[in-house]
Amino acid sequence: MDHLDRLESQSIYIFREAFNRLDRVGMLWSLGKDSNVMIWLARKAFFGRVPFPVMHVDTGKKFPEMYEFRDRYAKEWDLTFLRGECPPIEEMDPSLPPAARSAARKTEGLKRFLAENPFDGIFAGIRRDEEATRAKERVFSPRGEGGQWNFRDQPPEFWDQFNTEFPPGTHIRIHPLLHWTEVDIWLYTQREKIPVIDLYFAKDGKRYRSLGDKDITSPVASNATTIEEIIEELRTTKIPERAGRAMDHEAEDAFERLRADGYM
């Protein structure tokens, strides 16, 4: 087994564990490179099908390429697709910095979506290497009724013995990609020939490394037009992946506050 085989096997183990232990699960699909890998891994885990709904909590501000991709592959991959709506920015906490406030729409949209669709747990494709508070996450991460993350008192998690039973009212986020890195995602996408959105490839000296809403995501300087070139670039770059995501950088703890409140 090489490194990718090990990552894949661990993710499959996590998928199967959650599917067995929790009654109703669903998966968040943000249409980005990570969640596409996540869907792929689910199909591996369950021998070609995704036996739970896949949902997109839509801010309405994604790139058109993303919506096209979504509609095409929801069909091709035979997904049970659900769409959630996000509330307008005026309803968000005005004390948050502007981009974080914009990002908070997604948190609120997810909360409302979950209130209407009672899942016990949802799969989310976050990775530890993306951002420092995500590095502290658990694979099975319990959330309060409002989606809050109590990062000061997380359950122990060792030997793949995940916490799978919780007091009533707890909501579980399951993170099957937590142990992957950005390079791993691209290496695996390459190996498995998983489709990706073109925005990741450089045009006019720029490309997106991380896809979010149009208004708070910027491309980075790059000449990488193929997956091989992206992998080569990532081997040497010192630019952090989320450099183009505005809400991470507005205040020292801006992202920590967002995540504690339920942001992915």
């Binding site: 087994m1 090489d2 090990r6 530890r128 630019i239 703890d253």
Partner: protein
């Protein structure tokens, strides 16, 4: 697949006492190997300025506001890094005692560990505890870094003293560190190369030591263990899904499922998006298989090959580390998860509470949070498992109290038998013959019912004395009665058995079956065997059904030892008999015997009267 892009990968955990500089050391490694993302140093510098403090590399890892404000690591974190040789994830684990559960969360998945010790403070409580826990959790490789050498003037004497102390401690728990390295995280000594301040140190730098760790190989050479995670029926296939924890399975192999003891052949290994259907699968792979026969298989069952099955038992000993809010208690029932098995288990006894500091041991009824202990665990159902030393993956478990994972443990079967032999029926094509004479017919002729009086108790408690005397009295009163005695049975029926846990269990199994047959024949059978294990007595009870009466012949060890009718205690104390019940092997007293007779408190005649009263009340048929 050969892909030049995919590099070796290793998970390294940094552990040690609070404030000994783990996060600083990690931060420094990142800085000195030029692994920091752009802008990170500036952002850390700004954070430090805002707090009015000097540049602190620990902020690289301490991501939470509270961590930076308090200058401690609260939760474990991971950060990626590469050397010229390979890729790493560095796991930074909190040293603070309060966050031990987070330290374990970080450490348990590591391939190797760096144990950090402050040169000025020396080996502290958590240095020892973390060393002990690494060993217990099965982290196979350890290097020690003696940090903050700048604060002790780079003194070789100071370093030598700490090296001696920590090597001595680790050796005593069975760990030999690859290296002990003097470093300064703050000043950058011996992080990537030699240090001008410590020319006396000839060994590797920290990064050299990391590159020297081995990538652990998956356990493909060990016996097959395939714990069932789930069974899928999405289409016409019935797929048994799970991860192979050790060994290899192939299409066409005959698998033995435990604890049901059913065998069946592998029809196929299923895979999606694979170029060709796989013909074999090995340790580490999450797979799905189909079987050529529809036997009952469910989550928690363990598939193996017939030649090397796991142990089957409902009792085992364990080394546990306790993380629960509430102390671990004798007699309390917890939920246990072992591989994919879940079972309610009861803590039968806490045999030793271990001080990880000086390794002293004491008995106790509770284990407090963050402590380590040896306990005996009893399960309500038969388990398939391995000893930790034989197979880490199927020899470790967690205990759940309420909703919380509250402890972890590793399995030892010392003193207990593999019960597989006792529950395996080898013959097939057997049909039970119905007797023409009923139990009631026999009871009418004898004037009493048949049954088993199962005496259990320590050697010297008075079992044989009371058995023989009860037999005499009953015989004189016209009862059909017979005594089965331990030594006598071993002269004949069980002459082929020794005194290993398995043989002792088999001894009791046969006696239980013989006693049940004799009871069915209408006799009152009195057995006089120590029968120290509850599972063995329970099996004898099953054989005889409701005609089984467990009689606890009770006397404390001191009383029995004073009597010592066969001189056995003396020999056991002298070490001439190993595994002697009550001295060096467990005696599990009955929980709810039908009758207890305390021979330490009552004279023989009074004990006899009690027994006679019980028999007359229970067995006598009203004519």
């Amino acid at each position: 697949m050969t892909n030049g892009n995919i590099r070796d990968f290793l998970k390294i955990v940094f552990v040690g006492h609070v404030d000994h500089g783990k996060s600083t050391l990690v931060g420094r490694i990142f800085h000195d190997t030029d692994s920091l993302p752009e802008g990170k140093v500036e952002s850390i510098r700004r954070m430090c300025e805002r707090r009015g403090m000097p540049m602190e590399y620990a902020f690289l890892l301490d991501a939470l506001q509270a961590e930076r404000d308090q200058g401690i690591t609260i939760d474990t974190t991971q950060i990626w890094f590469k050397s010229a040789r390979r890729d790493y994830v560095i796991i930074d684990a909190p040293g603070h005692k309060e966050f031990l559960k987070n330290m374990i969360t970080g450490a348990a998945s590591a391939d190797a560990a760096i144990l950090v010790i402050d040169a000025k403070e020396g080996v502290q409580e958590q240095s020892r505890r973390h060393g002990y826990l690494l060993h217990l959790m099965g982290v196979p490789q350890v290097t020690v870094c003696v940090n903050k050498m700048d604060l002790v003037g780079y003194s070789q004497d100071r370093f030598d003293a700490i090296e001696r102390e920590i090597r001595g401690y680790l050796q005593s728990i069975g760990v030999s560190p690859d290296h002990v390295i003097p470093v300064s995280g703050r000043e950058g000594d011996l992080i990537v190369g030699p240090s001008a301040s410590m020319p006396w140190y000839p060994g590797p730098s920290v990064v050299d030591a990391l590159d020297g760790f081995r990538v652990p190989a998956p356990a493909t050479d060990q016996p097959l263990r395939f714990p069932v995670q789930d069974v899928y029926k999405f289409d016409d296939r019935r797929i048994i899904a799970g991860r192979i924890e050790s060994g290899t399975l192939r299409v066409g192999d005959t698998l033995l499922f435990s604890p049901t003891n059913k065998t069946v052949r592998v029809k196929s290994i299923e895979a999606w998006n694979a170029p060709a259907p796989p013909m074999k699968a090995s340790a580490g792979q999450s797979v799905g298989i189909t079987l050529d026969e529809q036997i009952f298989v469910e989550r928690g069952h363990v598939a193996s090959h017939e030649s090397h099955p796991p142990i089957e038992t409902d009792v085992f000993r364990a080394h546990v580390f306790w993380l629960g809010r509430e102390p671990l208690k004798t007699g309390k029932t917890y939920r246990m998860k072992l591989a994919n098995t879940e079972a309610p288990v009861t803590v039968q006894s806490i045999d030793n509470v271990i001080d990880t500091g000086d390794l002293s041991q004491r008995a106790g009824a509770t284990v407090e949070r963050n402590a380590v202990a040896e306990i005996t665990v009893r399960s309500r159902k038969m388990l398939a498992l391995d000893e930790f030393r034989d197979n880490q993956k199927t020899g470790r478990f967690v205990l759940i109290d309420g909703y919380d994972i509250s402890g972890g443990g590793i399995v030892s079967m010392e003193g207990y038998a593999d019960q597989r032999q006792m529950i395996t029926r080898r013959a097939s094509n057997i049909t039970q013959v119905m007797h023409d004479i009923t139990d009631a017919d026999r009871a009418r002729r004898n004037g009493h019912k048949g049954g088993v009086l199962w005496f259990t108790g320590l050697s010297g408690a008075g079992k044989s004395t009371l058995a023989v005397a009860t037999e005499r009295r009953l015989f004189d009163l016209g009862y059909q009665v017979y005594v089965l005695d331990g030594d006598n049975v071993r002269f004949g029926l069980n002459a082929d058995l020794g005194f290993s846990p398995e043989d002792r269990a088999e001894n009791i199994r046969r006696v239980g079956e013989v006693a049940a047959l004799m009871a069915r024949a209408g006799l009152i059978v009195i057995t006089a065997f120590i029968s120290p294990y509850r599972s063995d007595r329970d099996r004898a009870r099953q054989a005889a059904g409701h005609d089984f009466h467990e009689i606890f012949i009770q006397a404390d060890v001191a009383t029995c030892e004073a009597r010592d009718p066969k001189g056995l205690y003396q020999k056991a104390r002298a070490g001439e008999i190993k595994e002697f019940t009550g001295v060096s092997a467990p005696y599990e007293a009955p929980d709810a015997p039908e009758l207890s007779v305390d021979t330490a408190a009552l004279p023989v005649d009074a004990c006899l009267d009690k027994l006679m009263a019980y028999v007359e009340e229970t067995f006598t048929r009203t004519r």
